[in-house]
Subunit: 376 residues, 2 copies
């Protein structure tokens, strides 16, 4: 029990340090709490204040990797840009941004330092990329199945796939076509928006938690290596399924209520007493279902969602201001919403586990209704 | 069990006959199923087709009652108008409609025959009414507490109060100030709208179920007597608490989801598979809580909500078309919504009974949030 409590407490502190009290970081506290330390890596290299002081060009890359970014939306452009900045050989597979990228290069405004490359590799056809070391997969989840052919197009025997996509069942979807040991999941806690002129603006946060589909620690070290020297704040999870559910503890109540109520920002949810309680009730449903799934999946009991998970989510959201969750942006902009992986699959899992989760189910039913009514 | 099943089946048939297959009525089927028959009254007098054939002036009123209508909105004007038409001495206590009523009289378009009186008694001050036999109380539920002084203004030792108001706890609120044996509840299943020019338009349905606060059958006969000869289709309930919950089985899911989702019509709810299932889940919560309340209130087990209640509610709503529930109209028109009695009190009762009702609670939390955010 002591071990569990410590693990949970540590996880929480890392999260808070990474996401909320960035400006208070010190080398010592970071090294003390950083899970990277456990992997035998030098955590000080990831200290963002130190990283910010370095010019991009001065970062020395020992082993540049060949990276394909599939899904060059805001998230793909931002994290791909950070990998490029860190010295990797990055190619963006782009559609609507192809001409812009070719003509203007990559320009991203970011709270962690702007990204500016006059020339980047951008292609419209996956055959122009060829086999790569890493695929950064950052498509919307509703395009996951359809993008498998693109993944195959630059997949070789040693290619690893890192899916930075929200939702539940992302890795198992990829796992039905690709070797399980090559699949990684990334859960980004970040606020990155597209401006109306198409420019990417990284507003706040930016950390990613990485996990490996089969929780292989040696493989996990590879993704840490990839981001080594970049300005991306990373943390690793020894249990991807746990981290997926942890992320859903935020997404289902906050993306969910924001959409179900027709497009409201998260500050309204946390500040209204009834909506705050509702968010908590929905989150408790996610905790309940998630823990049952972790148990059914024979995950060690030290990986369970708990009261501290909930407290951390609310603390983070309380500091977020009038944030517009991605699905809510899609709703108000009349774009297709990510419903199946973020909401449908977790609910389906709950049903399969015969769990009652009325709060969560009500919110999800409304979202499905809205999606159908508005044809999003 | 046979008795229970028959009672339930009978209740359902009466409801369907009254509300949906009005045009198929025959004297025989009406007499067979009409609960009035049980009270020893001549049901044929209430046959609406027969009533429609009579000119208003030709209805002979044996014992005209003195009636005060407090709350002269659409519902009060309509049912007050029907009582006036039936020969009673009706005075409308009006505020915004006072001048119109004085100048133009009462004009109501109705599917059951228009109402037209060039002159009606309309006053702006309750002191101009004096003691009456009946008070038809049809204020919005949020004005219930505030209107008690108006009720007192025309209340004498023999005055009966008939509250045609949606919600839970209406009678107990009145019961804290007025004699319990004088309190009646009316649950109107009707579509009455106000046009933009203020004119009342009775579009569909119109039946009322009446109950007595203490379920006194002799008292119940008095309200039947009041409506005798009127064009209002009435049915009586031997258990008011049961009928209140029965009405909530419609109001909580349909008014609720219509409001929680920002103002949608009932046809959208029943036609979308996810929203239809949600409405059912919410209704099942109401059934569960209602039955627990009936049990806790020592109501005979023959009065319980069941699968037939649910089926009847959906059958009715399936035939309703693009109906706008009253609370949804208030929402889209930016008017104060009836939240406390229709949603807050039933949820509070559920909590007091330690019932879990996640579907219902989620919808209600959203409504409370919307009410606060939009200041309605």
């Amino acid at each position: 029990m002591v071990k569990v409590a410590f693990k949970m407490a540590r996880g929480r502190i890392v999260e808070l340090v990474l996401l909320i009290v960035i400006d208070l970081w010190t080398v010592n506290s970071f090294q003390l709490h950083n899970p990277l330390t456990r992997l035998g890596l030098d955590a000080s290299k990831f200290r963002p204040n130190a990283a910010r002081k370095q010019a991009s060009s001065s970062i020395v890359m020992k082993h540049p990797a060949k990276v394909a970014v599939i899904g060059s939306g805001a998230v793909g452009l931002y994290y791909g840009g950070r990998l490029l900045e860190a010295g990797h050989d990055v190619t963006f597979l782009a559609r609507r941004d192809l001409e812009r990228l070719k003509k203007n290069g990559l320009r991203i405004k970011s709270v962690d330092g702007d990204i500016k490359f006059d020339r980047v590799k951008a292609v419209g056809d996956v055959s122009q990329i060829g086999e790569v070391d890493w695929i950064l997969l950052s498509v919307k989840s509703y395009a996951l199945e359809a993008c498998k052919d693109l993944v195959k197009g630059c997949m070789g025997p040693n290619t690893r796939v890192l899916a930075v996509i929200n939702g539940f069942g992302i890795e198992s979807c990829l796992g039905s076509d690709f070797p399980h040991e090559k699949i990684f999941g990334g859960m980004a806690f970040t606020c990155i928006n597209r401006e109306s002129d198409g420019e990417v603006n990284h507003l706040k946060y930016g950390a990613i938690t990485f996990g490996h589909y089969k929780d292989d620690k040696e493989e996990l070290a590879k993704v840490v290596e990839l981001f080594e020297g970049s300005k991306v704040q990373i943390t690793t999870s020894e249990c991807l399924l746990f981290s997926r559910w942890e992320k859903l503890c935020w997404n289902i109540p906050f993306n969910g209520i924001a959409v179900a109520m027709g497009g409201i920002t998260t500050d309204i949810i946390v500040q209204d007493p009834d909506l705050r309680l509702l968010a908590r009730n929905v989150m408790e449903d996610v905790v309940k279902v998630g823990n049952e799934d972790l148990k059914a999946s024979n995950i060690s009991p030290e990986y369970r969602l708990n009261e501290e998970t909930i407290a951390a989510m609310f603390k983070r959201t309380d500091n977020m201001g009038p944030y517009r969750p991605s699905t809510m942006i899609d709703l108000v902009e009349g774009k297709q919403m990510e419903v199946e992986y973020m909401f449908g699959n977790p609910l389906e899992r709950a049903k399969a586990l015969q769990m009652s989760c009325g709060y969560m189910e009500t919110v999800i039913s409304m979202i499905k209704g809205i999606q159908r009514i508005r044809n999003l």
